[in-house]
């Protein structure tokens, strides 16, 4: 960034104001101001319009509501299901893609495809594939003489379902995410894995070949090579993917809206769906805002925590 003749030139204050005006207007009005406004709304009983000041009552109600805690648990299951699995699979795929000589472009094209399609349309296809009566998945299971499932209509936990044939009954807290939520997690993995893989593949291509070769000559095994050379060099990219994947998972909505609408028995009603329902279906704008602010705080804390934790092994 060389700036020749600095100091001699006047500053560009006037141009800067003109150049920044349009984007500032949009980003401030619909990006920054709403944060403060959300806080404000959350302090009121607010239906179709502002009604009366409640102080922190909306927050107390959210924090004492079992539905809200359920929504957070669903969100947690979802994040824990989507983020690690899709990252690990993307690392494997990117590495394998990097090793093969032919067809890289074709594979990349196919893997990236779900990412560019609309989640609504893709989710409709998934609901058809997992349809309890006519879906192809159950049809295949039937041919294999395996028990068919209710998939998106199944509120029972995955662990509960897995151990049920053994005659074991698990306590409610150990039932795990519902089968419906598991299908949603699969959808999210299917949807985002191409993006992660393509980004990781490009990062892999940027790893200097000399470093790997030098390590190999020194007798490093493949595992050690990955552990001490490749992964540290990929760490900024992995770090970035982990962060955006967590943020994205917290915001998951479209496919949940289409596939389950939050059901069955609220087992797929994540925080976003919960906020949407309280505000859109029940017109509890103040209460929905309080829930949104709580979620915001959780995301901020989590991102800071994640940054601290991961930055220890990220090498720039």
């Amino acid at each position: 960034m060389s700036r020749s003749g600095s100091g001699a030139r006047r500053d560009d204050r006037l141009s800067a104001i003109l150049f920044l005006f349009p984007s500032t207007l949009v980003l401030a009005t619909f990006g920054l101001v709403p944060i403060g406004f959300a806080l404000y709304i959350s302090l009121f009983k607010w239906g179709l319009a502002r009604e009366r000041f409640l102080g922190l009552e909306n927050y107390v109600r959210a924090l004492t509501s079992p539905e809200w805690w359920n929504a957070l648990l669903v969100t947690l299951y979802y994040v824990l299901g989507v983020v690690p699995i899709s990252l690990v699979l993307a690392i494997v795929l990117a590495n394998v893609l990097f090793r093969v000589a032919r067809g890289v472009g074709a594979y990349r094209t196919v893997y990236f495809l779900p990412y560019v399609t609309s989640t609504v349309a893709a989710a409709m296809v998934w609901s058809w594939i997992f349809h309890p009566q006519w879906g192809v998945v159950n049809a295949v299971l039937e041919r294999l003489h395996l028990p068919t499932q209710r998939w998106l209509l199944e509120p029972r936990g995955i662990i509960e379902l897995l151990v049920a044939p053994l005659g074991v009954e698990v306590p409610a807290w150990a039932a795990g995410p519902s089968l419906a939520l598991v299908v949603l997690i699969l959808f999210a993995i299917w949807y985002s894995i191409g993006f992660d893989t393509v980004v990781l593949l490009a990062a892999l291509s940027n790893v200097p070949r000399e470093l790997e070769d030098a390590a190999r000559i020194d007798g490093a095994s493949t595992v050690k090579l990955a552990r001490y050379v490749t992964i540290p060099l990929l760490s900024p990219t992995l770090f970035f993917l982990a962060i955006i994947s967590v943020i994205r998972s917290f915001q998951a909505f479209n496919h949940i809206y289409v596939l389950t609408g939050g059901g069955p028995l609220d087992t797929t009603c994540n925080a976003t769906m919960y906020i949407f329902r309280s505000f859109y279906q029940y017109t509890k704008v103040g209460y929905g805002s309080a829930a949104a602010v709580l979620l915001f705080l959780i995301i901020v804390v989590l991102t800071v925590f994640q940054t601290r934790l991961l930055s220890r092994w990220v090498h720039y």
Binding site: R13, A16, L97, R99, T109, W134, I275
Partner: protein, 278 residues
């Protein structure tokens, strides 16, 4: 660009290809199933055993198209997505230029505030934005669908990187020629930045075209629906007509898939530049 190992056909690379094929099959199966189901007669669509043994019915597409005002939905979606991407390019290019080349006090702070908007989860601004839109009298109008998305910190970030990478000789030469910042941006910088601008425009278009939650809450009437909202509504109306649902899904997916195949490189490079430079 990339260094590749010498092609060798051993069990290792065969295993790699098998693995990649399985992955590709998983990625593409829903699309395959969607198209197959969309071409089957209603009753056969329900029978797994009749995957390929039925007569094909392209008429399903015509039927689906007329079952709901999809034409209207498409016009709305294209209009909104086009204006959003054009607006995003304009506002982001000027802002990115200011951050890359202009000198003014508080630049770092302003830039930090811009970038902070990336971190704000959508759910938090959802309700206040809805209230803002209502109080502006924009509920159920095009501005509600367009204006909040007319800028993007991601686009500004991407274009700023690009403008920073231009050699400063260009600027010096332009300055000597008496070319102002505005002229320089549009006459010199923008044409050179074309790849970055195409990427920004594509992602803005894609994001707008595929959005559901925001258009769902700020529109009410059928005539204001965008394709995603219309498709979701169509699904709840025609719960059992799977052949029609799949035909409608195919139609809705088609524009972005075409766009993807035409401009695949820009999509991939966009993803990569976010992931690596970000």
């Amino acid at each position: 660009m990339r260094q590749r190992r010498k092609p060798r056909l051993d069990t290792g690379s065969l295993f790699c290809h098998v693995l990649l094929m399985c992955g590709a099959a998983c990625a593409i199966f829903p699309f395959f199933w969607m198209v197959v189901s969309s071409l089957k007669p209603a009753t056969d669509a329900l029978l797994f055993g009749r995957v390929f043994t039925t007569s094909w019915r392209p008429e399903n597409y015509v039927e689906a198209w007329h079952a709901a005002p999809f034409g209207r939905y498409f016009i709305n979606s294209f209009l909104v997505a086009f204006l959003v991407s054009a607006g995003t390019i304009f506002t982001s290019a000027t802002a990115a230029y200011a951050f890359a080349r202009l000198r003014f006090p508080g630049k770092q702070i302003v830039y930090g505030a811009y970038m902070a908007t990336v971190m704000i989860p959508f759910e938090v601004s959802l309700i206040p934005n809805f209230v803002i839109i209502k109080s502006l009298g924009w509920f159920n109008t095009y501005p509600a669908l367009i204006v909040p998305w007319l800028s993007s910190a991601f686009a500004i970030f991407l274009l700023r990187q690009f403008f920073l990478s231009l050699p400063s000789d260009y600027y010096d030469a332009a300055e000597i020629d008496g070319c102002g910042h505005w002229q320089f941006l549009w006459r010199v910088a923008m044409p050179i930045a074309k790849p970055a601008i195409v990427t920004v425009g594509l992602f803005a278009f894609l994001g707008s075209y595929n959005a559901l939650l925001w258009p769902l809450i700020v529109t009410k009437e059928t005539r204001m629906r965008v394709i995603q909202v219309g498709l979701a509504a169509f699904m709840s109306e025609e719960v059992t007509q799977f052949h029609l649902l799949m035909a409608a899904s195919t139609i809705a997916i088609l524009p972005t898939v075409i766009l993807y195949f035409v401009a695949q490189r820009q999509f991939v490079e966009g993803a990569v530049s976010v992931g690596i430079k970000g």
